[in-house]
Symmetry: C2
Subunit: 354 residues, 2 copies
DNA sequence: TCCCTTGCCGAAACCGGTTTCGGCGCGAAT
DNA sequence: ATTCGCGCCGAAACCGGTTTCGGCAAGGGA
């Protein structure tokens, strides 16, 4: 079923039908309707490749997933893909997905670009220094960043407002009596790390508190490192009463060292993290965390990229989305006010450790 | 950089260059080489859409992921995609991914077919009764099943040999002294369920054992149901000493009811499951399970689909791959031989339940 | 010498759309 | 009665490839 078939059915030329279906102004309303009905009735849909050749657009958004990073598991990949797919489908676009070892990503992008398998790209997990940005900018291919970058000049971007989440985290912990609050960051290659720490510091400042440098750690992006760092923090002469993790998977490592020191997470030690990893729902108590709506993020990114391909200026294509706080058990550790008053900087909950 | 540019560079016509690059027999070896070198040097790559319009193939394999089933999380989706992508890239193909609510999948397929965004489809998680099969067969679109189907006539398919895994499971448990072995199946809509149960029965038969119908349960495909079923089994007058789960996520529900009855998983109760879910590595003790190499499965499926699109008969496109046993802690519960001899069908490990 | 292969390439049609250009027919303005 | 403008559509070029067809030149056999 081609456009010529539709045209023959109507006694028109294919050019006219094409213009009718694409809402050209030099087509009478009657003809436009007849064409639309005939296309519908005959089940005609334009072949993507055929229009791509003339319009230069294949109406596909590209997504290259970099495999390798073994600690970077993706529990939300399906949701993210669903969001992207929905956003694309809403405009009649589709999704071209490829994977590449982190080193060889360049060739993968290049092939997709050269063969015109995608009109632009969504860049997930952008790093502060990200070779993909230079590559795409150099090839003059539209793209949208998902995450921060050292310079966003000339870039469209989308991000979750992790800074604000952490700012609110400070208030939450302050309201529950905490003053000695530790921060455990993730991988320093990504912008989220600085953003979340900065947000926490800003929030603490609003509470007339400061982030104690001795209570700050970095590079914890998995459970094992999370355990080590938690142990380190709890063994300080003045250990924190609350630990804020930049990454859920690191926070999952808080239990063992805490229990080994006679502390119950959620009662003696408050833990708040970020990501909304589903595993956090199965801990005891469940992990309080800031969850990200990956589906909606995908939809927004798809929409932004399509706008970008269609010519929207990058300045109009920048947005953030708030994370949502899941106020679960690990955040309910409260420092009683009376304790606060008489305490003088000493740990208030030294428990059953030897 | 189009083929005309390459032709101009060489003083040839684009038709000649096209034939040279596509190994037509009426091109001299010298010209073929010159064309190849020039294309390489100029960085020419044929635009996919342009060749699709004439050849009828866009060199893309389609994958539609059905969202909805909230219990069907996909911890291996990234690996599977990587495998598919690799297999596709090896032949110069790409991957078109879409998602759809399970009910509306039909329209999604139809759109991809009509717009020629894919030359064929990989059908993940095929069910015994699967409307996708009829749809694609009716539209005469090539596809490869990943999983069993009520009838594989006219279908290319690939599957993991879960039956053989379960057959071996029977031997493993028998060798460790177990005779009262329970089977907890997953969703009956899928072929794997019957395959795994059948494999277990076959293996038991080889050990001169039979699967006791009172120790068989069905429909456990998540942790909550796994807990309920485990509790039920352990409360039987003659409880099993080993439970075989068709699905890891159901097996994760074995711990709570076991501990509530004073039984330690891996010591008093053997558990063997299937899937290789990463969460199983973090239980105490870690879950013994049959793991599937999703990456390689994807690569094979991609290769098979491409062959199918290129005209290979379905009879040549059928294969299975073995699962690999991860002999971890939960399988090490052993029934001592002496106990076996003097016991008379009574539970040997009734523990601290009231 | 003539004819018939054979190897090799140019020319052009073709795929299924989009887009440009030109012209017909009609009503309104001069 | 022209002329002009405008609405509307046909005709044809065009996009970047693939594929078919025809023909030229060299070589071989009679």
């Amino acid at each position: 079923m081609t456009i010529s078939d539709v045209a023959a059915e109507l006694g028109l030329t294919k050019g006219t039908v094409s213009r009718a279906l694409n809402d050209y102004p030099d087509i009478s309303e009657g003809t436009r309707l007849r064409a639309r009905r005939a296309a519908e009735r005959l089940g005609y849909r334009p072949m993507g490749s055929a229009q791509a050749i003339r319009t230069g657009r294949c109406r596909a958004i590209g997504l290259v997933l970099e495999t390798d990073e073994h600690d970077a598991h993706r529990p939300f990949l399906d949701l993210f893909l669903a969001g992207l797919s929905d956003g694309a489908a809403a405009e009649g676009w589709t999704l071209t997905v490829a994977t590449a070892p982190v080193g060889a990503a360049r060739e993968t992008y290049q092939r997709l670009i050269d063969e015109r398998k995608a009109d632009g790209f969504v860049l997930p997990r952008t790093k502060l220094e990200d070779p993909r940005v230079e590559l795409l900018r150099g090839s003059d291919v539209p793209f949208v960043l998902f995450g921060g970058h050292k310079t966003t000049e000339g870039c469209a971007w989308f991000d979750i407002d992790g800074a604000d989440a952490m700012r609110q985290t400070a208030h939450i912990l302050k309201d529950r009596g905490h003053t000695r609050i530790a921060y455990v960051g993730g991988s320093p290659d990504y912008a989220y790390n600085g953003q979340r720490q900065g947000g926490l510091e800003a929030g603490l400042a609003e509470c007339d508190l400061a982030l104690d440098p001795t209570l700050v750690r970095h590079g914890a992006n998995n459970r094992a490192i999370g355990e080590a760092v938690t142990a380190e923090l709890l063994d300080l002469p003045e250990p924190p009463t609350a630990i804020v993790f930049a990454v859920d998977r690191a926070a999952l490592g808080a239990w063992r060292p805490a229990e080994a020191r006679g502390l119950a997470v959620g009662r003696d030690l408050a833990v708040i993290a970020y990501d909304g990893d589903p595993e956090g729902a199965f801990t005891e108590p469940p992990l309080a965390t800031w969850s990200v709506d990956w589906g909606q993020a995908g939809t927004i990114l798809a929409r932004m990229l399509i706008q970008r391909v269609l010519g929207a200026p990058v300045e109009d294509l920048r947005a953030t989305m708030p994370a949502q706080f899941l106020d679960r058990g690990t955040a309910s550790a409260v420092i009683p006010p009376d304790l606060l008053e008489r305490e003088a900087g000493k740990p208030s909950h030294k428990g059953g450790d030897s």
